[in-house]
């Protein structure tokens, strides 16, 4: 069953239309990757879902229309968006960043349990809770962003280029954790990436965007093996 559905979604910044009618579906429990070159509209698609750009068309989450909702209301429905630039609350401490993720939750015991869970994924975190998040490295900030999103206990996690600016080893461990979060927490994930090779390894399904439209879609494995798709769209 599709947890998230986009039907003919059009979005523009001012007079410039960026998405020309995107339709896609993200199944409950799956990892879906959105690939494509710079400026293809990947980030805008995520912003459309989380209510940060005005859209025409219909976006449905769990069977209910969410297009037109404000960003904070989309978040309250259970969609966590780790934006471009990681959304780090730089002047706040690491712990405060995590607390902000859980700021709307009233189940104190559950929050505590989730904190411990997050520390299992990121063992370096407990020792640095009182540091300002600005002092973390890029990879650590990416991990903190994912951890903060997990503290929301979301049903859908939107990740915008988690690989951006990371060293290969860090990138590998982050994608490992993304896979684990999907399997162990049952969180559905929609992932935007330029690093197609890595993304296709974890993705059940992938969409390739080209200038605001979906050019190709298919299972992760199919796209990874399709020679012509690889050459024309994925560039490796």
């Amino acid at each position: 069953m599709a947890l998230l559905e986009l039907e003919n979604v059009v979005a523009s910044y001012g007079a410039i239309e960026v998405l020309h009618g995107i339709s896609l579906a993200v199944d409950q429990g799956s990892v879906v990757a959105m690939l494509g070159a710079n400026g293809a509209g990947k980030t805008t698609t995520l912003r459309a879902i989380s209510g940060r750009v005005k859209v025409y068309g219909v976006i449905r989450f769990d069977g209910r229309v969410i297009s037109g909702l404000a960003a904070e209301d989309v978040a309250r429905r259970g969609i966590a968006h780790v934006p471009e630039g990681r959304g780090t609350l730089a002047q706040l401490t690491v712990l405060e960043n995590l607390q902000m993720g859980a700021c709307l939750r009233r189940d104190g015991a559950g929050v505590k349990k989730d904190l411990d869970r997050v520390y299992e994924y990121f063992p370096w975190m407990p020792g640095r809770l009182s540091q300002p998040a600005a002092l973390l490295s890029g990879g650590e900030q990416q991990m903190l962003a994912i951890a903060r999103a997990l503290m929301m206990r979301p049903r859908l996690l939107l990740l915008d280029e988690p690989s951006l600016g990371l060293a290969p080893t860090v990138l590998r461990s982050i994608f490992q954790i993304i896979g684990k979060i999907n399997e162990e927490e049952g969180v559905t994930i929609l992932l935007v990436e330029q690093n197609a090779k890595t993304a296709l390894r974890v993705a059940d399904r992938a969409y390739v965007l080209e200038v605001g439209e979906i050019a190709v879609s298919g299972s992760g494995a199919d796209l990874a093996q399709n020679e012509s798709v690889r050459r024309s769209y994925l560039g490796y």
């Binding site: 989380s50 940060r52 404000a70 960003a71 904070e72 978040a75 309250r76 966590a80 968006h81 934006p83 959304g87 780090t88 609350l89 730089a90 002047q91 706040l92 405060e96 607390q99 902000m100 993720g101 700021c103 709307l104 903060r148 929301m152």
Partner: protein, 303 residues
């Protein structure tokens, strides 16, 4: 022997002035803190902060004098009224221009200044009125230094307010959400925070702190619609000195300004009348030497 006596007397005199300065400084500090709370949330000064405080002080006056309610009931009740009023002002008047350029916001708060000043005059008139003080003006002698209960009370109440505000921001979830919303509105929205309401709450808190400041100032001077205008100017000086985006700076700045003015007013001949000039001199020096203020950040561009 005679010179020794003179020296002792003047040391006591200085201590006396310092205590007096801390008491008035506490007033500047509270209003400066109110300014900083709003500055941090929307990067603009609320020029109406003082007039809003005056308005709520008049409400306290009515509750005390016309309804004969006891002081320690009126005090918290006025703070609550001020908080709700501050929230209402933000929701009704500021919200429509929330995303407007800073100059628009400044003009709107100047408009609010005129509105609240006019309303106070319209409702309560321009006659000066005595405002009751909960503290006696009689002095208590500590080590030969005479300090009035009034001054001690001022220091006590402003300290309590500042500590409470600090605890609220450092220790409570709503305080954390307000800090996050002020610093990172977009990221906070993605975490489900209603940023607009956090801003309204900021206005409410600022109005509450301002109300306390007004109720403390009125007994020292007299109550009229222009009650807080000079206090507001010194609060500006305090906020700039401390760093306009730093709550700690506002407090330290307020105390420093209070003590400086007390000492300068007492020991430099003819300066009593030039206190305001002296205050602006402080602003100019700070802006030249350390534009960020004592505790503020130097201007940082967001990338």
């Amino acid at each position: 022997m005679a010179t020794d006596l003179f020296l002792v007397a003047s040391v006591q005199g200085v201590i006396q002035q310092v205590v007096f300065g801390l008491a008035t400084g506490g007033l500047y500090a509270s209003l400066a803190l109110a300014l900083v709370l709003i500055y941090r949330a929307m990067e603009t000064l609320n020029f109406a902060q003082g007039e809003m405080a005056t308005f709520t002080t008049f409400i306290a006056f009515s509750l005390l004098v016309y309804l004969h309610l006891p002081y320690w009931l009126v005090f918290p009740a006025t703070v609550v009224i001020a908080v709700l009023g501050g929230i209402a002002v933000e929701r009704v008047i500021i919200r429509p221009v929330e995303r407007a350029p800073v100059i628009t916001l400044v003009l709107v708060t100047l408009g609010l200044f005129a509105i609240f000043n006019g309303l106070s005059g319209l409702i309560w008139g321009y006659v000066v009125r005595p405002f009751p003080s909960p503290f006696p003006t009689t002095p208590v002698f500590i080590g030969g230094v005479g300090i009035s209960y009034q001054d001690l009370g001022l220091i006590g109440v402003s300290t309590a307010v500042l500590v409470l505000i600090w605890l609220f921001f450092a220790r409570t979830k709503v305080g954390l959400m307000m800090r996050s919303a002020a610093l990172y509105p977009e990221s906070s929205r993605l975490l489900g925070v209603r940023v607009g309401w956090m801003l309204a709450l900021g206005w409410g808190l600022a109005a509450g702190v301002g109300a306390v400041s007004g109720m403390l100032v009125a007994p020292i001077t007299v109550l009229d619609p222009n009650l807080m205008q000079s206090v507001l100017l010194y609060a500006f000086v305090a906020a700039v000195l401390g760093g306009i985006d730093s709550p700690v700076g506002a407090v330290v700045g307020g105390l420093v300004v209070g003590v400086l003015l007390a000492l300068v007013g007492t020991y430099i001949p003819n300066v009593q009348d030039l206190r305001l000039v002296f205050g602006f001199l402080v602003i100019i020096v700070v802006l030249i030497v350390k534009p960020g203020g004592l505790f503020g950040r130097e201007h940082v561009e967001r990338v």
